[in-house]
Every structure is written in C-alpha cells, then in structure tokens.
C-alpha cells in the first residue's frame, strides 16, 4: 500500500511509558517498577496496518492496551484522530471509545458465556448509540453477515461455536460502532493453522471495505509479514526497529531483528537445510532490572563496548526506517548533527 507520509497520522504515540509498581517488604512499600513499556514512539497512518512483533514479555500487549487507555499511562503522549487521549478524563474517554476498539487473543475468555451472540454484539450499541430495538437487531444481523457468521445462530451462546467462529463474534463486536482504529492483540494465536488464514483474510477484507486502521500485535512473524504494511519489533519494553514490511524482512538492520527472523522455522526442508541461524544465548532480562546501555547488549552477537554503557537513540537511519542500535547510529559530526536534531525534533 502506498502511504502518503505527509498526511497527519491517525495514531501518534510519543515516548510512551507504562511502568507497573512492585510492592514488597513487610510494609508492602513500593520497591521498584516493571518497566513494561519504556519510552516508545510510533505513528500509524489511516488505512494502514502496523505490525507489532516481539517475544512474550516484551511489552507488546501492554502497548496495545496503553494506546487505548485501558491503563493510566506513566508518561508520554498519545493522539488518536487529532484528540489527545493520554490525558483525557473519563467522560471524554468514553465519548472516544466508539472510535477505537480492540480484538482480543482468547475469544473464549473475552466473550461472556452467559450472553447470546446477539447480546454480545449489541452491547456496545446499547452503551453508546441511541437506537430502537428493531434497528439494533438489524444492525446485529448485518454485523454477523459482515464477519461471515450464520445469522440463524444469533441466539446461541459462545460455547456452541468453534474457536474461529468465536473470534468472528469478537470482531463483529469490535465493528459495531464503526471504529476507525482497531487494536488486534494476538487475534489468531489461539487458533489452528487452517483457521488462522480464515480470520486473517477476514480482517484484510474488512480493512479494504471499511477503511480500518489496525495495530496488529503478534508473535507470529510470518503472519505479520502477510498482514502488516509496516512492522515494529519490540524488545524488553522498547522498539528495536521499525520499518516498512519489505525492507524489514529482506534486510533487517537491528541484530535482534536479524536473530528473530533467522529463528523462524521454514516449512520447507530444502530451505531449512541451508538457513544460517543466529542462535541467541541466554534469556530476556527482567523488565524490572533492564541492563545498562542498550537493553539487548546481554544477548547481542555483535555487542560492542559502547553498548554496555550508552543507550542507543531510536533514529531514522534511512527514509522510513527507524532503528535503535549503535551499529547504525548516525555519526556525531557537524554535518549529521543538524540532521539528527531534525529527527530528534520529530520523535521527541
């Protein structure tokens, strides 16, 4: 998809931080923070899908929730469709809810087992829109049709549906209020391979038809390559690299992105024989005690001295390609200083 970068982004996140306090000791005093999200910035343009990938615990789901203000964020600015959401009060937030919706990972847990499908899909309508009962019923059936659910099943309960169909119910509910922006938090992770493709195709069709903008959070790098226009790779609460899809998958810049992509198994034994894997050693450090300097320095195969002391800046190193790595930092000389200050101005 050709993106006009000059247009104002639909979603603009700047220096978002989400720290969760840790309480401990005899008096249950605050003894530290889990820095789940620690200063990340990105834009999402209208009609675009931004893929957010990373391993478990990297903070990607927290980003999705924080962007919709399901948490009170620690710091940073979030603008959606021109409105500041980071500081909005409850009333204002409520009036903005129809604009932005969420699709959850586990359709079993996110649907009330005691409500019928029709009730589940109608709930946002009942909360936010004044319409007659008949209008509402019509809208529910229209939505069920849109996501490929059999309208005759409107009065059934969630447990009577398969995982893929339950996810369709969740999607219909998210679409009920004609949102512009949807956060999809691992929407296919709980589904079988043959069902995943059905749901992904549905999300793409709906995007084309309704002009939706997605933040697509997933650990499945091959599915993100399929659905996303641009991809952000998170590691330990920060974005390591953000780039258009083709560039990111063909020539990743950050050593973490390189290792992550090389680790994905290939469903072809002939390619598998030749793949050169970068095997990372060790595990992800704790987000309550991230390493000094670059947060990837403890596992990075290309680690340098500077990485252990100085935190790399998240910079635009090529047009549209952002990376936080000392290997790609723009040199600190006079010529690039000016360029850098422009970049800094843009993202801080």
């Amino acid at each position: 998809m050709a993106l006009d970068m000059k247009t104002e982004p639909l979603v603009r996140v700047q220096n978002l931080k989400m720290h969760f306090p840790i309480y401990g000791g005899l008096l249950q005093r605050k003894v530290g923070d889990v820095k789940a999200v620690d200063g990340i910035s990105f834009d999402i343009y209208e009609g675009e899908t931004l893929g957010l990938v990373g391993e478990s615990g990297c903070g990607k789901s927290t980003v999705g929730r924080a962007v919709l203000r399901l948490y009170d964020i620690t710091d940073g600015a979030i603008r959606i469709d021109g409105d500041d959401i980071a500081t909005a009060d409850a009333g204002k937030l409520r009036s903005m809810r129809p604009l932005m919706q969420m699709i959850f990972q586990d359709p079993q847990a996110s649907l009330n087992p005691r409500m019928t499908v029709a009730d589940i899909i109608a709930e946002p309508l009942r909360e936010h829109v004044k319409m007659s009962k008949i209008e509402r019923e019509d809208r529910v059936l229209e939505l069920m049709d849109q996501v490929g659910l059999n309208k005759e099943f409107a009065n059934r309960y969630p447990h009577e549906f398969s995982g893929g169909q339950r996810q369709r119910i969740g999607i219909a509910r998210a679409l009920a209020l004609n949102p512009k922006f949807i956060v999809c938090d691992e929407p296919i992770a709980a589904l079988d391979v043959s069902i995943q493709a059905q749901v992904v195709n549905l999300l793409e069709e709906l995007q084309d038809r309704l002009g939706l903008t997605y933040l697509f959070i997933s650990h499945d790098l091959s599915m993100v390559r399929h659905i996303a226009d641009r991809v952000a790779v998170m590691y330990l609460g920060q974005i390591a690299e953000l780039a258009p899809r083709a560039e990111l998958y063909e020539a990743p810049l950050h050593p973490y992105t390189q290792a992550l992509l090389s680790a994905v198994p290939e469903p072809d034994p002939n390619i598998e024989e030749q793949v050169e894997r970068i095997i990372l050693t060790g595990d992800v450090p704790s987000p309550s005690n991230p390493p000094q300097g670059c947060n990837f320095c403890t596992r990075c195969p290309q680690v340098m001295e500077i990485c252990k002391t100085v935190e790399p800046q998240f910079q635009e190193v090529q047009p549209g390609r952002f990376v936080a790595c000392h290997l790609h930092q723009i040199a600190e000389n006079a010529a690039s200083e000016a360029h850098k200050s422009i970049q800094q101005g843009e993202i801080t």
Binding site: E55, S56, S162, G164, Q165, D192, V193, S194, I195, Q196, A197, Q198, V200, N201, E204, H219, L221, S222, M223, R225, H226, Y249, A259, L260, L261, S262, A263, V264, P265, E266, P267, D268, P269, N270, I271, E272, E273, V275, R277, I279, L280, T281, D283
Partner: protein, 341 residues
C-alpha cells in the same frame, strides 16, 4: 555437517527393525454427551535413531495416540479398544501395570508441552531428575546426583551442580524445557516422545531447543517422536512425517517427499495456507474453509471430505485406506495427484 549424517542414516532406516510398532490403534472416549472416536485405526512405526514428526491440528488425535500407546489415559472415560503396540517385543496394550511403569519414563521418555505444569513446583529440579534414576535404574543417592549433573550439562544448563537445588520457578521457560528433556533422557530411553515441546516457547528459545535436540540425536541416537502443529519445525528436524486429521493418519512420507510432493488434499491445503518469512510473499492467503470434524462415531467416510476440493462421490460412502503413492510414501485418499505437481 550433522545434517549430512542424518540423511545418510535415514537412507538405510527402512531396512531396520522398528523400535516401536503401532498397529490399528483405536481410542474412544465415552462422555455424557456421547462417544468421541479420537483415534481411529492408527498404524505407524519408528525406526531406531529416527525422528518421526507427527503433524496435525488440535483435536486431530496426535496427543491421544501417544498417550494411548503408553497407557496414560484414565479409563473411563478413555477406552483403548483395539490394536497392538509392540515395543521391545512386548505388546504394551496387554502389558500389566508393573511392566508399563518400568517402560514409562524408563525406556520410553516423555517431554510435554508446558514445562511449568509438568514439573512439580514443590520439589527441587535435582530431586525430579534423580527420581527416575533411582526408581528405574536403582542408582544410589550419590550416583543419582552425579548422573543428574551430567544430564543437566548435557542439555546445556550452565552451572549444573549448583542448579540441582533450585526449584522449577527459578528457571526460565526455555531452561525448564531443558530440565524436562534431561528428565526424559535420564534412563537412556530408546524412544523419546515429545509432545509440542517448543509450542509454549518464544521463537529464539525454540531455535535453541531445536539445536539441542539435533545435537542430542547425534550424541545419543535414540528414536524421537515429535508431535507438533508447526510444519516449519517439522521441516527442520524430522526424517519422516505422519499427518493426522480427524483421528487418523492421512499421509505418511519422508520429510522432503512430503513437503515436495504432498499427496493428500489436506496436506496440500495446509502447506498452501501457511505464510513464510522468507521467499515471495503471497497477496492473499489460501484458506481451508470449514473446520475440523469431531468424530462422534467410527468413520464411515473420509473425515476431510467436507473441506476437500477434490471430493468424489466415493468419499461419502467409504473411508479411504492408506495406499502407497511413492517410495515410503502413502496417503489415505482416492484422488490421484500427478507426481511433482
């Protein structure tokens, strides 16, 4: 380098006697809402040193098959109706409790999907590794401890001697799975059954575990049955693959043959639906419409017919039997695909 050895090994595998031979296994669950025929006439074998991949979606019967053959399913509700499971010259389905107990965790090792729930949180890792050593091999306390350290080192856990006194929660997910593998390997198993051992892990950790398994195969040479839904993982480690659908094996072939020349419509469709991070990117994902069946009765027709694009009249009347379609390659389908297509 190691790959070369493996393919040489797989070349003469067919001549070897199988270490585990499963014939016509049937498992039925009797529930309040009726019967579920989870495993329907499953037959396969594993040769010494071979890595057999078992692929299928949830509910296809892959885990139940493995649990049936080692008597791990509670009865009721499970009823292992039929079939033979020959291991070490003994039919495990007819074996008494004592024999089974000595086989489980002894000559047949298990690694489960979720290392957190399969390790006991209130015992140290050292105790849990030593347990099979003392029970099955009759080692004394000191010998068991020495062997435990050896095992932890074998699976790549740093500072092994000290970590024996740690509890499972003190290990990360990947390290816990290494502990599980160490326990499974404790008694020098002839067969290691690994049920989705990397599914709960992140990709970079999965890559570490897959490397470890390749390395252990070189060192120890046991046969491995690797159950997964991830065709990518299978492509990288298996010698031979069986594909399960609706409680039965629908296709069986050497790994390259299966991926290069799939002969069952389900295998073909599955391979077309999965996107890749390498190579060309598809604009639209291929889809298998519909959903997998729940086998409420013994199958009298092809379980895949409702989702199949090559459906004949015959598929409604008869459940196809696996027939040979190539060297070491069979498929349960009436349709004949041209080779290499």
């Amino acid at each position: 380098m190691p790959r070369g050895d493996l393919s040489d090994q797989s070349a003469d595998l067919s001549a070897l006697q199988p270490v585990l031979d499963v014939q016509n296994l049937k498992t039925v669950f009797k529930t309040r809402s009726g019967e579920v025929h989870a495993v329907n006439s499953v037959s396969f074998d594993v040769k010494p040193g071979e890595l057999l991949g078992v692929v299928g979606e949830s509910g296809s019967g892959k885990s139940v098959t493995m649990m049936s053959l080692i008597g791990l399913l509670p009865s009721p509700p499970a009823d292992v109706k039929d079939g033979r499971v020959i291991f070490d010259g003994v039919d495990l389905l007819k074996a008494d409790a004592k024999t089974l107990r000595s086989v489980r965790g002894g000559k047949i090792g298990f690694v489960f999907q979720d290392p957190m729930t399969s390790l006991n949180p209130v015992f140290t890792v050292g105790f849990q590794i030593a347990e099979p050593l003392r029970k099955h091999m009759g080692l004394g306390k000191r010998a068991a401890r020495a062997r435990s350290v050896e095992l932890l080192e074998l699976v790549g856990i740093p500072d092994a001697a000290r970590r024996l006194s740690d509890y499972p929660h003190q290990f990360s997910g990947g390290m816990r799975q290494r502990v599980m593998i160490a326990i499974a390997l404790a008694c020098d198993p002839k067969v290691l059954i690994a049920d989705e051992p990397t599914t709960a892990l992140d990709v970079t950790i999965q890559a570490q575990i897959l490397e470890l398994i390749k390395d252990l195969r070189q060192k120890l040479g046991m046969a491995i049955i690797w159950i997964t839904h991830d065709l990518g993982v299978i492509a990288g480690i298996a010698d031979r693959v069986v594909v399960m659908y609706g409680g039965q094996i629908v296709e069986q072939a050497p790994v390259k043959e299966l991926f290069g020349n799939p002969q069952h419509p389900y295998t073909r469709a599955l391979l077309e639906t999965i996107p890749s991070v390498r190579g060309p990117r598809e604009d639209k994902l291929n889809v298998i419409e519909g959903q997998p069946p729940i086998m409420g009765a013994a199958p009298t027709a092809c379980p895949f017919r409702a989702r199949c694009s090559f459906r004949h009249d015959r598929c409604d009347r008869e459940n196809p039997v696996r027939r040979t379609v190539g060297p070491g390659h069979d498929a349960a389908c009436f349709h004949e695909f041209s080779h290499g297509a």
